[in-house]
Symmetry: C2
Subunit: 403 residues, 2 copies
């Protein structure tokens, strides 16, 4: 299950590098040679991941050295780190030493999260950057220095274009709505372009400005930024850069000093799970009631049985009582509630699969409600509903001036 390819592709997209060609191959020297040779023949930069470990299957160092026509050598700083890590009690065996080898003359970038150094060397004039395959190590290296290194490489190639870019994260609008809202935004703006990517349930929007002068590129980007924000409300455009909605909501709740609780039916705990993803969630999250059955809606949240009887469990009236009951019982500032038909069964003509009611109750304020009607598979209906719950928390914070 290769997650590195999509991770690298996403990170390179962020840096406005076009990924032109991706190959996955087995731990076979001939295949690896072929994959790297093909890539250097068609791209300006090649990034590999994997094959830097200690076993006989790990062939990247040897194959790269062979392609570059150089020897394989031990990287002494990496060996010293390994020795320090192992201490006195563990000897470095020849097998373990394999993972601190690099092709002679390679530029060694190090590895903040592991033992095998990452390195870079030119093959046929094209820089080939070799990263480890362990996702945690790969992420640490990429987050630590890929952007700077790519800027250097661009400069070294005589590429005098400077790039200013910003990535906007939008939830609550489809890709076509986002692109319609931004139609014409970059028209006539020198060197500017706009790009979209759907990453369910959100949409990413990337704005890029190129210029020989960094200041000029950044100036035009700042002007376009105002345009984006005039066209997409802050309620929908929830963050820029590498911040997902749970982290954003968590940070906003902390900043506002407010607490939240959840009351979940069809999402089954997903909203609580999202709200507790950020470290330190206990600062704002008290807890939640998962009330899948009607009896639990009554017992845990005080929903009136006759209201369920009259309007059905998936109704504005019931989610309103769920949210208000949770707010009061948990003693929190905000409580969000969800009840819906996630499917595949249980839909009716009046309430088809995908019908979800949400409510947000707040201390000293009116309860807001929202109805979703998005036909789709069960997992997507639930994910969409859980994200909407977070969006309603953000909207409440904005109303209170906390966002």
């Amino acid at each position: 299950m290769d997650t590195n390819s999509s991770y690298l592709a996403a990170r390179l997209w962020d840096l406005d590098v076009v990924v032109g060609w991706m190959t996955s191959c087995r731990d076979d020297a001939a295949d690896l040679r072929r994959a790297v040779s093909d890539a250097v023949g068609r791209c300006d930069l090649v990034v590999t991941s994997g094959g830097l470990g200690p076993t006989e299957d790990d062939l990247t160092v040897d194959v790269l050295a062979e392609l570059a026509g150089v020897e394989v050598v031990v990287d002494e700083p990496a060996r010293a780190r390994m020795a320090a890590r192992f201490g006195d009690r563990i000897a470095i065996t020849p097998t373990q030493e394999r993972q601190v080898r690099v092709p002679a003359g390679a530029r060694v970038h190090g590895n903040p999260a592991g033992l095998a150094p990452c390195f870079e060397l030119p093959i046929a004039g094209v820089p080939v950057m070799c990263l480890p395959g362990v996702p945690r190590e790969l992420h640490a290296i990429v987050d630590g220095g890929l952007a700077d290194r790519i800027a250097e490489l661009r400069e070294a190639r005589g590429d005098v274009t400077r790039i200013a870019l910003r990535i906007y994260r939008v939830f609550g609008l489809g890709e076509s709505q986002v692109s319609a809202a931004c139609r014409g935004l970059v028209d006539g703006v020198d060197g500017a372009s706009i790009h979209y990517q759907v990453k369910f349930p959100e949409v990413l929007l990337k704005l890029v400005v190129r210029d020989r002068d960094r200041g000029a590129a950044e100036g035009r980007l700042a002007a376009l930024d105002e345009g984006v924000r005039a066209r997409i409300s802050a309620e929908r455009l929830y963050a820029t850069g590498d911040v997902a909605l749970p982290e954003r909501v968590g940070a906003e709740l902390r900043a506002a000093g407010l607490t939240v609780a959840t009351a979940e039916s069809c999402t089954g705990g997903m909203i609580g799970e999202l709200l507790t993803r950020p470290a330190g969630a206990s600062a704002y999250f008290a807890g939640g009631a998962i009330c899948y059955s009607n009896a639990e809606k009554v017992r845990q949240l005080g929903v009136a049985p006759e209201v369920i009887e009259r309007h059905g469990a998936v109704s504005e009236e019931v989610v309103r009582q769920m949210a208000e009951g949770a707010r009061e019982r948990f003693g929190v500032d905000l409580a969000v509630a969800v009840s819906g038909v996630a499917g595949p069964d249980g839909g009716t003509a009046e309430k088809p699969v995908g019908t979800v009611w949400l409510a947000l109750a707040e201390r000293g304020g009116a309860t807001a409600t929202h109805r979703l009607g998005w036909p789709g598979p069960r997992d997507m209906v639930r994910t969409l509903a859980a994200w909407w719950a977070l969006a309603m928390v953000r909207a409440a914070l904005a109303r209170r001036g906390g966002a």
Copy 2:
């Protein structure tokens, strides 16, 4: 974000097809030609996904026809299905007709979930199977007929080997423990092999037997199956084939006619979310209490404040009271509780990050507890804890003779 590659690789692994080479490329005719030509030169079967839609970017049909030296034609059955779908009110435009075209002479497999037919044609003697890129359509086609088609292709190539295989899903043991338990299992068994794959938090084990006679292969597989089950307990080896742990636990709860509730601290709702993934979860899942704060552990579940005070929130005593409180309050047969240090902060020398206590209370039975100590990032600690909670539910069902 390409999810098709890993999906196809996993499905082909299931079918004992070795994926030798994978390429992703842009919507560029030259790149696509190159990718397909490279692949047919090195493999016995090529599978493509994407590029079958209606827009000018969708080039697969044209490129494949060119490589095969045939014309592009409209597939009349697919066009008829499109006309039936559109009805009288929508005319088929030339753009829409693009997606019902196929290379002349292609074997058309159809598409149960979409408009663009999937098809197969030989290029340089190698069958190239072209599937749509929309994941839902891809999955429907693969689940519907890939196994049969691959068996046919094996036969057509004169491959008289028959393959019997089974995939075992194991949770609660690491890959090295599973492989140690199965050491020597296939030794001396003609045509048998064993393969492992880590799919956090579980481990997959694949057993393959090849023989010219299907019955002989299946007979030896049945004997090996007994060996696997003798070496890995049913508590750990939770399913065979394409069934994930939430579906398995849900099915077992339904079969036993028992109900369950959750009491979650560090997992924040994740156990409830897992238990409600299967459709029809209301048959066994009543609800849950997410009690992130100590106050909520007391209020929702009746945990004694002095027990929290004395032992800490992450302790055997507290999860025991959480589970027993939930079982009683929700009026269910089984209740599972979790409290842990998910990190990255909050660890101590005595209870480092990754320390998680779980408890399973049952009607009329003793409460079981379990301590995990797995150092890792926050998301993985939480996922592991939530899966362990499900495993404890299974263990309780087994004790009651329900599994």
